[in-house]
Amino acid sequence: MNNGGGKRINGGTEEDDDEDDVNGDLDAWERTYTDERSWESLQEDESGLLRPIDNKALYHSQYRRRLRSLSSIATAARIQKGLIRYLYVVIDLSRAASEMDFRPSRIAVIAKHVEAFIREFFDQNPLSQVGLVTIKDGVAYCLTDLGGSPESHIKALMNKLECSGDSSLQNALDLIDGYLNQIPSYGHREVLILYSALSTCDPGDIMETIQKCKKSKIRCSVIGLAAEMFICKHLCQETGGIYTVALDESHFKELILEHAPPPPAIAEFAIANLIKMGFPQRAAEGSMSICSCHKEAKVGAGYTCPRCKARVCELPTECCICGLTLVSSPHLARSYHHLFPIAPFDEVPPSHLNDPNNKLQRNCFGCQQSLLNPGNKPGLFVVCPNCKRRFCLDCDIYIHESLHNCPGCESFRHSKPVISNEE
């Protein structure tokens, strides 16, 4: 096409074009260091010693951003949350999952964090149940049925980590749709898809499947490991889920753990609903009975269903005989805090600490450590908006993420008459 013109244009300066090769002369091993810039995470302290950068403040600000985004939804109006969740985690085991861009491989990273996620999930949602589904060679398999035991899920997953073939979103959704349709209406149906592939090979029209999921009120969320895909975005938008793409391993961890706290309930589902539950008694140590879930005789440490007196091994679960939901009261209590989250603490600039008026409290109310940094310089700290107690950053995170109660407010509550007298 362009011989004539091309020649004329190139004719004059037929130089070779490889004069500027920025990092072409580095070896592969050198380049990995150049990319990671490991020296930048070091810092010199006053005495000239090297030490890793103190990224506590950075970490804390990240955490607060997340807290604020969560609480801005939660505190605006008291939003109903789905406490009883039925979640299917879909793990894409297609060819793409064996890619090495996450170290050591995508699938290893997924497995590691799914394990952490399942534990965290049951910790935060003791009344909920999880099932695992894998996609391999274009077909979806159910790895574990819905259940409340983290150990069984993790064990099942760790045995099946080979990747091959294509991935099919539609097959997975169809399979899950079939399972989730059977669960009772008070349960919240959710799917979390961990998607490694960049395409989906479907047997039919996936748009219909998405509409079907929407109709059966399944909330689908996707975490991508490769790049943003239109169909995933569409799926999440239609069903009210969240679509995110992980940039690296730590980001992936952050994203997957975001799915642990219960999401706001879907409006049509938010009708108040009474659920029949049993609170079984723990059987006496040493008593022997046939367990209804494993169908074998076991000694001690079981629970007895209050309605049919069958023995089950673990809580929470559904009684295999009479179908009653069996929980223990701590489970309920642990779910409760999602409905009444503690307000985020206010950040106070460190200079306030030296204010003569505020001399009273120089220690964290939680851990009683000094709020001053080692060099007697004031550090960052936070204040509870209700009780005005001061807390260090570590306690702040601990109170909001694990404790779910403010020690300051709780201690006031016990001495309630004193407060009313003061007012």
Binding site: N2, G6, D21, S199, I206, A226, E228, H234
Partner: protein, 724 residues
């Protein structure tokens, strides 16, 4: 939002404005103040259209004593609709803030095909037959006949429009083509003639380039536009080609055969008229003797395309004697067709200047220059006299007369090229005679002369100093704005070497090298495995694309690509391509992912958007130079060198660059979009280095692609290509 630019209060319908939009408006305002022409470049996706519209309407509102008219020219009907939709938004905003005094009339004007509401006429498949269908129902003699004989069909919409006469007006507002049709249906008036009538009263007119640039159309549509108008050519990077095409004619063997058929039919008609109504022919003769203007006193529906030459070049004289009589004119045409047929039978490529060609016609066929010059008008008059309505049948003879008139009128800036066969397929005889115009400034000159301000704007006009030379005008403002990006949403790269370190290029001596083909295949293969959804690839030509796809198929690369994404290919067949595009979109939608192979300078590269997930990556394989052995291009280059002192190399590079920028610009249509662009040819490095306005960035775009690790071995330079 509302803000002040010097003495003008600008009403802008959005809450935010980009900095480049603001500076764009300032420059535009200066040009309007100076009443001069301007040349403005701003990348696509920065809201050029709304900036233009809101500044000019606000400017007009702030100076109520001297209202200016806005003529907005777009390339396609689709763009016309988009512009009108934006204008509607703006208009509603201005009314909200200013009240009824801000009311304007804005209409879009298009061909009958897009505006007709008569179902019987609309059933025809192409534009010409819709035009003819309309004429059959609305020509003055048909209507006269219908008045006597009620069985003669007429168009109800047009009759109603005529009956309403001066009462048929559009109330102020913004009318898209859709709105016009709806309004016409509701009132029972013909939207096409209504729109044509309202054009002279409207504050804003949106129509196609041809209505101003092509003298055939401009003569009837745009002749009544006032001088105080602002003319905007949007997406005008190809405006020189549009100008040239407006004045170029090509004649093939089929054209001549068709013309002979047409002539037989005409002579038949003449005989019939002689037998029945001889006075009619005599009346026409007398009219021609007096040299009456052919247009002007004719009813609006009998108007056709007017003379193809520019208005200034048409002689205001009586038609010469030797073609006044219908039979004589017919003989002249027959001789002309005969002569052209003889010329087409040549074995060699011939190139001639119009002057020599006219001399040769006059010695061989005995037709002098003046007679040639009047051919078009004479044919027009004859067909009116003979009351011929199915004009779509007579396109061939019209083409011949078109040719004759242009050849008779212009001595410079044109050449006549006869090629006995296509250069690429020398075995198949396909003779073609082309009258090609080399001077883009000819067609656009009347526009520059007539209107107060002409704005030429596009996303890609660099190098911006070339356009004033090509179009031969002096802009008062000529500026280029760069896009301000708040995040890295584009990632352009130049790839000079393949994974085996061999340079890649589509240079003629390298393109068939198996190493280059393999490296291109490898590149695509790696990209399909890491890029989600859609990928668009542009090749330099159809033949190159066919060749490379065949090789990929033989070596199994294509099969590997298909494992990741489906493959769709643009062909020269429009229907096939449309179907491929449709399926490509579906594959992108449903998550399967797809690759579209297309050709730079093709239909797809010019008009189809691959925004959002339809194009996450575009790969430009090679540099899209024009086919430099083409006789027409060579003649044009020679003319440019001699007349405007533009070097051949400069022009070719400029042309390749704007084509490439068009291709890669298809993927980013707004700032919210993101995408990656790869220029795969070693020559790109030098071309882009040559651009003065380039910037270097090395950051990768976020949230997008993780280029495979092996890619760092590619010799990749990230370069922001300001035109993309």
């Amino acid at each position: 939002m509302k803000f002040q630019i010097e003495d003008v209060t600008v009403y802008f319908p959005y809450d935010h404005i980009y900095p480049e939009q603001y500076s764009y408006m300032i420059e535009l305002k200066r040009a309007l103040d100076a009443k001069g022409h301007c040349l403005l470049e701003m990348p696509t996706g920065t809201g050029k259209t709304i900036a233009l519209l809101s500044l000019i309407t606000s400017y007009s509102l702030s100076k109520p004593q001297s209202p200016i008219k806005l003529i907005y020219c777009t390339r396609t009907v689709h763009e016309m609709e988009k512009t009108l939709a934006e204008l509607k938004l703006l208009h509603n905003y201005q009314i909200k803030h200013l009240g009824p005094q801000a009311r304007i009339l804005a209409i879009g004007l298009s061909s009958r095909k897009n505006l007709c509401v008569n179902p019987t006429v609309l059933a025809a498949e192409n534009r010409d037959s819709v035009d003819a269908g309309c004429r059959k129902l609305t020509a003055s003699w048909v209507r006269a006949m219908a008045a006597e004989n009620p069985n003669v069909p007429t168009c109800q919409f047009f009759e109603n429009y005529e009956k309403a006469a001066s009462a048929a007006v559009l109330p102020p507002g913004v009318y898209t083509l859709q709105d016009l049709r709806a309004f016409g249906k509701e009132k029972g008036w013909c939207p096409y003639f209504l729109a044509r009538h309202m054009v002279q009263f409207a504050n804003v007119v949106v129509y196609s380039y041809q209505y101003l640039l092509d003298p055939k159309v401009a003569g009837i549509i745009s002749k009544e536009m006032q001088k105080e108008s602002v003319v905007i050519f949007d997406e005008a990077h190809n405006i020189d080609n549009v100008c040239i095409e407006a004045l170029s004619v090509s004649v093939r063997r089929q054209t001549l055969e068709g013309a002979t058929r047409n002539l037989n039919r005409i002579s038949h008609e003449i005989d019939r008229f002689k037998a029945t109504d001889a006075s009619r022919l005599r009346a026409e003769y007398n009219r021609l003797v007096e040299g009456l203007a052919l247009r002007g006193n004719l009813p609006i529906t009998d108007n056709w395309l007017s003379n193809p030459a520019l208005p200034d070049d048409i002689l205001k004289e009586a038609v010469p004697g030797n073609i006044r009589r219908a039979e004589h004119f017919l003989h002249v045409l027959r001789r002309l067709v005969q002569y052209l047929r003889g010329r087409l039978e040549t074995e060699n490529v011939e190139k001639e200047s119009p002057v020599g060609f006219v001399a040769s016609i006059s010695s061989h066929a005995g037709i002098d220059q003046k007679a040639l010059k009047f051919c078009y008008d004479r044919l027009h008059s004859l067909m009116l006299t003979l009351e011929i309505t199915d004009t779509d049948e007579f396109l061939h003879i019209q083409t011949i007369c078109d040719f004759a008139t242009l050849v008779g009128t212009y001595g410079r800036g044109f050449s006549i090229i006869i090629e006995p066969f296509d250069e690429r397929m020398p075995h198949i005889p396909d003779p073609v005679l082309q009258l090609s115009c080399h001077d883009a400034s000819l067609a656009i000159k009347p526009v520059f002369d007539r209107f107060q301000s002409v704005v030429i704007t596009s996303g890609t006009l660099s190098p911006i100093d070339l356009y004033p030379r090509l179009l031969n005008f002096h802009p008062v403002v000529s500026r280029s704005f760069t896009m301000s990006l708040t995040r890295d949403c584009i990632c352009p790269m130049v790839l000079t070497r393949g994974s085996d370190q061999l340079p890649v290029s589509t240079k003629f001596d390298m393109r068939s090298d198996p190493g280059v083909v393999r490296n291109y295949g490898k590149l695509l293969l790696e990209m399909v495995s890491v890029v989600p959804d859609g990928i668009v690839c542009f090749f330099v030509s159809y033949s190159y694309m066919d060749g490379i796809i065949n090789t990929w198929n033989d070596t199994g690369i294509l099969k590997e690509i298909m494992q990741h994404k489906l493959v769709f290919i643009e062909t020269q067949d429009v229907v096939e391509t449309t179907l491929a595009l449709d399926n490509y979109r579906r594959a992108c939608d449903c998550g399967r992912g797809a690759v579209f192979f297309s050709v730079a300078r093709g239909k797809v590269a010019e008009g189809i958007d691959f925004d959002r997930h339809y194009g996450r990556l575009v790969i430009m394989f090679g540099v899209p130079f024009q086919y430099t052995l083409s006789k027409i291009l060579m003649a044009r280059l020679e003319y440019l060198r001699d007349t405007f002192q533009i070097k051949e190399g400069d022009f070719l590079t400029f042309d390749a660059l704007r084509q490439a920028a068009q291709c890669v610009g298809r993927v980013i249509r707004s700032k919210a979009d993101y995408g990656m662009m790869i220029f795969a040819d070693k020559r790109w490095k030098r071309i882009i280095k040559g651009l003065s306005s380039q910037k270097e960035i090395s950051k990768k775009s976020p949230f997008l692609l993780k280029a495979p690790k092996s890619h760092s071995r590619f010799n990749i330079n990230s370069t922001v290509f300001n035109s993309s």
